[in-house]
Amino acid sequence: MERLLNDNIVSQIREAFENLKHPVRVLFFGSKEDCDYCDDTRQLLEEVVAISDVLSLSVYDMEADADLARHFNVSMAPGIVIAAKEGDQITDLGVRMAGIPSGHEFSSLIQDLILVSGRDSGLNPQTREMLKALTKPVLLQVFVTPT
């Protein structure tokens, strides 16, 4: 299959990934039903994780792996979870994407991988304190378009 990322983009990403610290596991949830972008998204993720040794990918199916999808709160395909990995332990940080991260959102994917690998949100201290003080669940859904 033709590659989605050309050499120029791969070398830019490799540079951005130079200081990746801790292992990151990307979980992909596809679906055989009505999913126009699942194949492209999976291929895109395969090409991205291949760029750095600290990144790895597991591929799942929304229907066949329904329990796992529920565990990671994935309900839309393609679904992507960007999780921390320590040894064999995968820790869900609540960082997800629904839909293909292409165009402008491709840089959000790269940025998310860098943040999770650094285990540092980069937020200011006051915001961190307020987030840590939350006692009720919060779901943030950021709607974006590729252009």
């Binding site: 915001t127 919060v138 378009t145």
Partner: protein, 61 residues
């Protein structure tokens, strides 16, 4: 923000692919952040303090 609290989940949603969901929340421009199924909304790219304030409003509603 999700990284800082077990209470927080953050999901980036491709609005064109999931247009039923974007319609439900009245998304017409991006980025548009929906907090807790519509209890809060932030339109545009805003400083983290603004988003944090909207989160706090949404959880007390």
């Amino acid at each position: 923000m999700a990284m800082e609290s077990d209470m927080v989940q953050a999901e980036m949603v491709e609005a064109m692919e999931f247009h039923d969901l974007s319609n439900r929340y009245g998304v017409s421009g991006v980025p548009h952040t929906v907090v807790n199924d519509g209890k809060g909304n932030v339109i545009g790219a805003v400083p983290e303090t603004n988003l944090m304030a909207e989160i706090q409003r949404a959880v007390t509603r």
